[in-house]
Structures are given as structure tokens and as C-alpha cells.
């Protein structure tokens, strides 16, 4: 909280000092952001974005965790697919927009597809690395009771890796949000916060206050989602948090 205030103060000073004659001070941005809350049009934009975000994220999680488990626990599959996976990973979604648009159209499905494409990786890799960090003694002890690979996975590896997978999911929420809005900015149709931001940008003069107010809402949404997830983690992984304690 203190940090947030300090940050806002910084932006305010920067804006007022005219470090940037194009950046409005924080107070103005926040005022505008508050006003947008009552703007029906903006709320519709926000709704569309959240929908694309949520669908994309959900699908990404459903795809990435099993894939991560597969890659993490069957080295052969990991080796056989690595060339392809590592080839695909660095391809930027901007380059894919026209291709995906051509294949599946440009509506919600375009945004959702690109969100999935980007959000899969953090979950996938945190799952893979999380599984690798499981204490071998813990795994062995269940194996020794005759539990098969899948059972060991379910009862030991996944719970043990769960906090880290969750961190991957938290990463993915941010990535998904960024991708949703960015795709909208570059190629949005109709509605979406990104479309809102885009149009604010092409006004003459550019409506920086609108752009930044939109950004504030995106950021706040990210903060709220993160807070919810952290709270969920604390409950779900109480064993983890009480044991390791830690600053947070």
C-alpha cells in the first residue's frame, strides 16, 4: 500500500514537473479512471477483454498442466518434441495475427487463441520444473507401496509441485492480460480495453489520460487477480506456507 502511494506520488510529480508534457499527472489519470467506471461504453470494452482473458487462461491451464506433466515425467516425449516446442516458443504473436486471423477468423477466437498461445508457456514450464524438484525420497516411499507412476504423480509429484505450478499460473494471468490487451490494440475489432486504448491514441491530440486510465484499470485488475490467487494459495498450500513461513 505504502509502495502504491509512493508510486502514484512519483507519477504525479513526473507529470506535474512536465518531465513529460505528454504525461498527465497521476491525480488526473486516477480521476479519469474513476470516471470510466461509470462509462457504459468502457464497461462493455472491459467485459469483452475479461471474457477473452478468462477463456484463454482457462484453456491454457487445462492444456499446459497435463503437457507439463507429460514432458516433465516422460523424458522421451520431452526429447522428441523439444525441437518443435522450442521452435514455436519464440514466435511472437504479432507475427501470427494475420495467419491466425485467416485460419479462424478475427472475432473473440483470435484473441483467445493468441492468449492461449502465450499463457501456456509459464504454466507448462513451471509444471515441468516443479515436478523435477520433487524430493526423490518422497516419491520412492510411495512407489515402494506399489503405487504406479500415475498414482505417484497424483499423490506426490503434483501436490509437491503445486505451489510452483500456481506461481506459473499467476505468471500466466499477467501474460494473458497483456496479450489480450495488446492484441486488441494491434488488431482488435469492436470492443475491448485495447480497442479503447487504441482509439484514445489516435485522437488528436492523443488522449493520454484515457490511455493511462485504461492502463490503470488493467493494472488494478492484475493486482486484484493476483491477490485472489495469493489468498487461494495460502489456503490451498497451508502446509507449504506454515512450514516455510517466509516474509509473505
Amino acid at each position: 500500500m505504502t509502495g502504491a502511494l509512493a508510486f502514484a506520488a512519483l507519477v504525479e510529480i513526473a507529470g506535474r514537473a512536465g518531465l513529460a508534457e505528454f504525461l498527465p499527472p497521476a491525480s488526473e489519470i486516477l480521476q479519469r479512471a474513476a470516471a470510466l467506471l461509470f462509462d457504459e461504453g468502457f464497461r462493455a470494452h472491459a467485459g469483452t477483454s475479461v471474457l477473452a482473458w478468462a477463456i484463454g487462461l482457462a484453456v491454457a491451464a487445462l492444456v499446459a498442466v497435463p503437457l507439463g506433466v507429460l514432458f516433465g515425467s516422460v523424458p522421451v516425449i520431452d526429447a522428441a518434441t523439444r525441437a518443435i516446442v522450442e521452435f514455436l516458443r519464440p514466435i511472437p504473436s504479432v507475427a501470427l495475427i494475420p495467419l491466425v486471423a485467416l485460419l479462424i477468423g478475427t472475432g473473440l477466437q483470435l484473441r483467445v487463441t493468441l492468449v492461449i498461445y502465450a499463457a501456456v508457456w509459464p504454466i507448462l514450464y513451471n509444471t515441468m520444473y516443479g515436478l523435477r524438484g520433487v524430493d526423490p525420497v518422497a516419491r520412492e516411499s510411495l512407489r515402494s507401496y506399489g503405487f504406479g507412476r500415475l498414482s505417484v504423480l497424483w499423490w506426490v509429484s503434483l501436490p509437491s509441485a503445486a505451489p510452483f505450478i500456481m506461481t506459473g499460473f499467476r505468471l500466466a494471468t499477467g501474460v494473458a492480460l497483456i496479450l489480450t490487451v495488446s492484441t486488441e490494440i494491434v488488431a482488435g475489432r469492436g470492443e475491448g480495453i485495447g480497442v479503447f486504448i487504441y482509439f484514445a491514441g489516435i485522437a488528436v491530440p492523443a488522449r493520454m489520460d484515457d490511455i493511462l486510465a485504461g492502463v490503470v484499470w488493467v493494472g488494478l485488475f492484475g493486482v486484484v487477480v493476483n491477490a485472489l490467487l495469493v489468498a487461494a494459495e495460502r489456503r490451498l498450500f497451508r502446509w507449504h506456507h506454515t512450514r516455510v513461513g517466509g516474509g509473505s
Binding site: A101, L102, T106, R189, G201, A203, V204, P205, A206
Partner: protein, 309 residues
């Protein structure tokens, strides 16, 4: 040119029988150049032709090409340079349905800030100028005008700067001169005291065609009557707009971020009320000259005769 009747009864008859498709989706851009589409809707000109046109706005015209190809839309508003390139590269088989806009004097402008040392076209040599998209119509026209002004076009450095970043980049000295279109020309003149250095729509590039309404050859062959009706309505709109600025001012807020007050003061491009392959051919030829096309394009073969009065 070759006129047919545009009276309401005939059109209605066409709507009943002749039109292959009565509901079409058309993509426009959030720029003044698209105004004819909205005026035609506003003035019920499409309706008169028996067409129901649903407009849609995209950020830039290349994005709409996939939509055209996968049938999401029927036609789109795009700049010729992009469209010719797409055609040349085989990305789509272009069909120009109707011309859209041409550069009017003062609707485009290369400008310098009041305290800039740039005073004449010659001063632009070695300087950095922004364009919206590299290798597009802005460069194409300016090259011709520079040549006519004895400036070596090769000595200009172009950088791509998105719309909202032109002003900050300019004021922070990241670009030496700004290549602006409306409404930024008006805004820069009145608010920043910017000086016009060169009008890119002058001399050899006067009335330079910028963009038009296009579709694919395939779509056109399937829907020739719809295409003709569409063209007629747009031409009719352009005609009305020639004599009545207010029509344009009224529709601008519908699809651009230009408010009414600003709209009243800006310079509009020319809206084409007929199609003319000759002037369009000039664009294609310049592109060949710039090395942007692999082969010549015979523009006339992509166009239909003007059927409007």
C-alpha cells in the same frame, strides 16, 4: 462517363432481382478518408440501391485482408499501395470496387516546428521524417514531390512512428520534420505553430489517389450487380459531399476520434465520385519505379466502369 439510371424505382427493382447479395459487411478505417461509406449509410444511399451495409472499423487495412479472404467481410477500404502489394505478392486477387479518396492540397503536409532550421524542401536532405508505415503511400508521393523540387529523395531518413507518438517524438527531437495528415495538420498549425515545408500532394503528386474500396476478384465475379450497386452508392455519396461539407462533419465522430468542432476546421481529402484508371495507374507505376512491385500492374483490368451518373 457511361451513365445508367440511378432513379429509385430501378434500384428497387434491382434489389428484388439483380443483386446477388443484399447484406454486406465492409471494413473501414478510423480516418476521414472512409467518410463516403458513412455518408452513404447516413443518407440511405445504400438502402436506395437495395443494400444493407454493415460497417466495421479496423486499425489498419492490411489486417482486413485475412477477413476478406476467409469471407468474414465482403469489401474493405484500403490504401492502394498496400492493396497493390498484396495483389502483386499473390496474397489476394484484387478487385477495386470504387475509388475512395485522393489527396487534396493541404490535407497532407510535411511540417517543421517553429524554431526548426528547416525552411525549404532542400533542408529536408539528411533529415529524419516519420511515416505511419514504411514503404507506403506517404513515401511514394513525397518522393515524387521531392524530385520535382530538386531534392534527392534518397537522402531522407524515414522512421515508422505510430499515430499517437508522432507529436511526442517530434517535440522531443526524435524526428526533424513531421509528415502529417488531417486532422493533425490543422492541430499542429494551430496549437504548435508548425510551419508547412512541403505539400506532398502537389506537383506530380497532386490529387494523388490514396485509398479505395476493394474486394477480391472472386467475390466480384460472384456478385457483379451488388458490386455495381455498392459503387453507385459510394459515388453518389461522394457527389453529395462535394457540395456539402456538413454531411462529412456529421458522420466523422461516428468512426473517427475527431470531434465535431475539429471536424469543421480540417481540410478534407477529395472523395472520388467516379473511377478513373488513369490516375490510379500512376500509383502502380510509381511503385514499380520504387521497386515495390515485382511486375507492372494493369490497373484498368482490376476496375469496373463507373456506372453512376
Amino acid at each position: 462517363g457511361d451513365s445508367t439510371t440511378t432513379s429509385a424505382p430501378t434500384s428497387t427493382a434491382a434489389a428484388n432481382g439483380g443483386l446477388e447479395k443484399t447484406e454486406i459487411k465492409v471494413v473501414g478505417l478510423p480516418a476521414i478518408d472512409t467518410a463516403a461509406l458513412y455518408v452513404a449509410i447516413d443518407q440511405k444511399l445504400f438502402e436506395k440501391e437495395g443494400l444493407k451495409v454493415t460497417p466495421q472499423i479496423v486499425q489498419s487495412s492490411p489486417e482486413a485482408i485475412p477477413m476478406l479472404l476467409n469471407g468474414e467481410i465482403d469489401a474493405m477500404f484500403g490504401n492502394y499501395v498496400s492493396m497493390f502489394q498484396a495483389h502483386d505478392q499473390g496474397a489476394l486477387k484484387l478487385r477495386i470496387l470504387a475509388e475512395g479518396s485522393r489527396a487534396a492540397p493541404d490535407s497532407l503536409s510535411v511540417m517543421a516546428l517553429p524554431d526548426s532550421p528547416i525552411r525549404s524542401a532542400k533542408d529536408l536532405e539528411g533529415k529524419t521524417i516519420n511515416v505511419n508505415v514504411l514503404h507506403n503511400f506517404q513515401e511514394l508521393a513525397l518522393t515524387q514531390v521531392l524530385k520535382a523540387n530538386n531534392v534527392d529523395p534518397k537522402k531522407i531518413k524515414y522512421v515508422q512512428v505510430t499515430f499517437q507518438n508522432i507529436m511526442p517524438a517530434w517535440q522531443k527531437g526524435q524526428i526533424d520534420a513531421a509528415y502529417l495528415g488531417e486532422p493533425m495538420v490543422t492541430a499542429a498549425t494551430s496549437q504548435m505553430g508548425a510551419r508547412k515545408i512541403l505539400d506532398p500532394a502537389s506537383g506530380p503528386a497532386a490529387e494523388f489517389p490514396i485509398s479505395g474500396y476493394v474486394s477480391t476478384q472472386e467475390w466480384y465475379e460472384k456478385n457483379p450487380n451488388t458490386a455495381a450497386a455498392f459503387q453507385r452508392a459510394l459515388h453518389a455519396a461522394a457527389k453529395m459531399m462535394e457540395s456539402n461539407r456538413e454531411l462529412v462533419v456529421d458522420v466523422l465522430p461516428n468512426f473517427t476520434q475527431i470531434e465535431k468542432a475539429t471536424a469543421a476546421t480540417v481540410t478534407f481529402p477529395y472523395f472520388s465520385s467516379s473511377d478513373n484508371p488513369v490516375r490510379l495507374q500512376r500509383v502502380a507505376d510509381w511503385m514499380v519505379e520504387a521497386g515495390w512491385l515485382g511486375k507492372d500492374i494493369d490497373v484498368a483490368s482490376l476496375m469496373s466502369p463507373t456506372t453512376s451518373g
